[in-house]
Amino acid sequence: MPDTVTRLDPPASRLHDDTAAAPALLSAENLKKHFPIHGGMLNRRVAEVKAVDGVSFAVRKGETLGVVGESGCGKSTLARLLIGLVRQDDGRILFDGHAVGSPQGLTLRDLRRNVQIVFQDSDSSLNPRLPVGESIAYGPQVHGMKRRAARALAHDLLRRVGLEPELFAHRYPHELSGGQKQRINIARALALEPRLVILDEAVSALDKSIEAQVLNLLRKLKETLSLTYIFISHDLNVVRYVSDRILVMYLGEIVETGPTDAVYRAPKHPYTKALLDSRLAVDPRGRIETAPLSGDPPNPINPPSGCRFRTRCPYAEEVCALQRPSLGGWQDHAAHLAACHMSDPESGHSSARQTSLPWQ
C-alpha cells in the first residue's frame, strides 16, 4: 500500500478535544426504532418490527466502539439512526453534549457534518455516472465549498486513502476494484471532516488481504485525523482487532458492553459466550463439534417476554421470562456490563448468587 498519507494540521476545533478526559463524543439514550408493518384492509398498521428497542450507549472521543451481533439484530438500523437517515421513535442522541434535533441543540445538518458513514456495499455507495473524484467532492460542495477547493480536497483525500489522484480522480466506479471503491467511500466520508465515522460492515465484503489493508488504512487515518469510529461488523476477529470497547447486540437490544479484552476474555452474557464460541479455531484440536447456538433469532415483530435471549439460552429460568434484564450503569465507560439476570445478584436467578458464571 503506498504510504502517501501526509499529516495536516487538525482543524482548530479539534485542538480543544481533551482526549485524556475522554468525554462522550456521541451518546444515545434509550433509542428506539420500530418499523411499522402495514397490511390488511385500508393499509392498517398491523404490527411493528422492533429493530432497535431501547438502546443506550456512549462513544468516547478517540475510541473505536465495536458493534457485533447476528444479522438482523438492528446493527445497521442503529447506524442509520445515529446519522439521522431514519428518525428515532423515541430516545435522544447527543453529539458532543448537544441534543440532536432539539431547538437548543444541533440540527441534523450539523450532525451530518460531524458524523459520516461508510456502507458495506462499496459498489452501490458510489454514483455510477459520476467520476469518483466528483463523488468525494460532492459533500463539501453541499456545505458551500467552492468547486475548485472541493476538487483539491478530493485529490488530497485520494492520496490519503492510498490512491494516486492523477490516476483515479477521473475514473468511474466500474473501473475500480472492490477495495479501491471502498477506499473511495472512506475518502468520501472523510471529505466533510467528520469527527465520528460509522463503519457499517465497511470491510465485510472485501477479501481478506484487501480487508487487512483497508483496516490498516482506517487505523492510520484515525491517528492522523484524530477520528472516532463506530465499527459495525459480524466478524468477531476483526472487531477484536480494531475495537477499544464492544457492544453486543441481540434482537434490537444491547446485551453486553465493556472493554474489548474483558468481553473477549470473560463474556458475561450467555449470548456473547455463544458468539465467541462459534468462532472457528485455527487449531484442529480446538475444533467444536456442536454449534454453540442453534436456531434463528426469534421474530423481532413479536419478541419473547422478559429476556429476549431466553428462548435460546441454556441457563434460562423462570425469572428470565418474567423480567426484562437491564443494562444498568452504561454511562460508566470502563464498566463491563451484561443485561442478564445472572449478573444481577438481586434477580433471583439461581446462578446470580454464585461467584462465577456457569461457563467460567
Binding site: 448537544h98 445538518r109 451530518r112 457534518r113 460531524n114 455507495s125 460532492y138 492523477e166 467511500n185 471532516e193
Partner: protein
C-alpha cells in the same frame, strides 16, 4: 454549539500539479461509440437528409405543393417535370412529399420532447418522493394507460377537433404515461442505492440529490425509450391525418396524402404508395437510430 459546527477549512494541499489525463465523461463515451457505429450513422444521415429537405423545402421543391393542374392528374413517376408523378389534383408528388416531411418531423419530435419533459419530471417526482405522491401520480397514469394509445389519440383529437396543434397535444398526452413510468422505475431503483443515502447523510437537500445523483442515472433510460417513441409518434400522427383528425387539406401531410390517394390506388399504384413509403422510411430510420443510441448508451456501469 460552536465546537460542534466546525467550519470547513479550505485545504489547498495540492501536492502535485493536477490536470493530467482529461476525464472522459459518460456522454463523451456515448458519442465515441456512436461515431463508430456506421449503421446508425447511415440511418441518422438519412434522417438528416429528410430533415434538411423539410427545413429548406421552399428552395428544394421543384413545384408549388398546392398548385393543381387538371391536365396532369395522376401521372406516373418521371412524367415531364413531375419526378415522382402527380396526385389526383395534378399536384407534384415530390414537392408535396418534401413539404409533408415538415409536418411528419414536427409530429414525430415535438410530442415526444414535450412528453419526455412532462412525463420524465412527473416520474422523477413520483419515484423520488414515494409514498402518496407516487401513488397519486402513478395511478393517474394508470388511468391513461388503460386506453389503447391509438384510441386515446383519436378520442382526444376528436374531442378537441382536428388540426396540427390539437393532434400535437393528443400525441403528447398519449406518450406521457409510458415515459412517466420509465422515469419512475429508474428513479425508484436509484433512490434505494447507498450513494443516495450517503448523499443524504452528507446533508444534501432533495433537489441537490436529484440534480447531481438521480438525474444522471435516469436520463439514459428515459432518452433511450423516448427515442424509440419518435417513430411511433410519426405513425400515429399519420394515422390521425389519415382519419381526418390531423392536418386539414390542402396542407401536404404524408398521412393525409395516403388517405386522399387511396381511391386512385388502381390507377397509379406506385405513386399512391409513395407517402406510405415515406412514412415507412422515416420511422424505420428513427427506430434504427434509436436502437443504435440504446446500444451506445447502454454502457455497463
Amino acid at each position: 454549539m460552536s465546537e460542534a459546527t466546525l467550519s470547513l477549512p479550505v485545504r489547498s494541499a495540492l501536492g502535485r500539479a493536477s490536470g493530467a489525463a482529461k476525464p472522459r465523461g459518460y456522454w463523451q463515451n456515448v458519442g465515441r461509440r456512436l461515431s463508430r457505429d456506421y449503421v446508425t450513422l447511415f440511418f441518422a444521415f438519412i434522417i438528416a437528409v429528410i430533415a434538411l429537405a423539410a427545413v429548406f423545402a421552399p428552395f428544394i421543391a421543384p413545384h408549388d405543393p398546392n398548385a393543381t393542374s387538371m391536365v396532369h392528374r395522376l401521372k406516373p413517376i418521371g412524367y415531364q417535370s413531375y419526378l415522382l408523378g402527380s396526385d389526383e389534383l395534378g399536384r407534384d408528388m415530390l414537392s408535396r412529399l418534401i413539404y409533408g416531411g415538415r409536418i411528419s418531423l414536427v409530429m414525430g419530435l415535438v410530442p415526444v420532447c414535450l412528453a419526455t419533459s412532462i412525463g420524465g419530471l412527473l416520474g422523477l417526482a413520483a419515484g423520488f418522493a414515494g409514498g402518496w405522491i407516487n401513488a397519486l401520480i402513478m395511478r393517474t397514469m394508470d388511468v391513461l394507460y388503460a386506453f389503447p394509445s391509438v384510441l386515446l389519440a383519436v378520442a382526444i383529437s376528436g374531442m378537441m377537433g382536428g388540426g396540427v396543434f390539437n393532434s400535437l397535444i393528443a400525441l403528447t398526452l398519449v406518450f406521457i404515461p409510458p415515459l412517466c413510468r420509465v422515469a419512475e422505475v429508474a428513479t425508484t431503483q436509484i433512490r434505494g442505492r447507498d450513494f443516495v443515502e450517503a448523499a443524504r447523510a452528507s446533508g444534501a437537500s432533495g433537489l441537490s440529490i436529484i440534480l447531481h445523483h438521480v438525474l444522471r442515472n435516469v436520463l439514459a433510460p428515459v432518452l433511450i425509450y423516448a427515442s424509440s417513441l419518435i417513430s411511433v409518434s410519426i405513425l400515429l400522427a399519420a394515422g390521425l391525418s389519415f382519419l381526418g383528425l390531423g392536418v386539414e387539406p390542402p396542407t401536404s401531410d404524408w398521412g393525409l396524402m395516403l388517405s386522399t390517394l387511396r381511391q386512385s390506388i388502381y390507377v397509379q399504384p406506385v405513386v399512391c404508395a409513395l407517402p406510405g413509403a415515406a412514412i415507412f422510411l422515416s420511422s424505420l430510420c428513427f427506430n434504427l437510430v434509436s436502437d443504435g443510441l440504446r446500444q451506445a448508451m447502454d454502457i455497463k456501469t
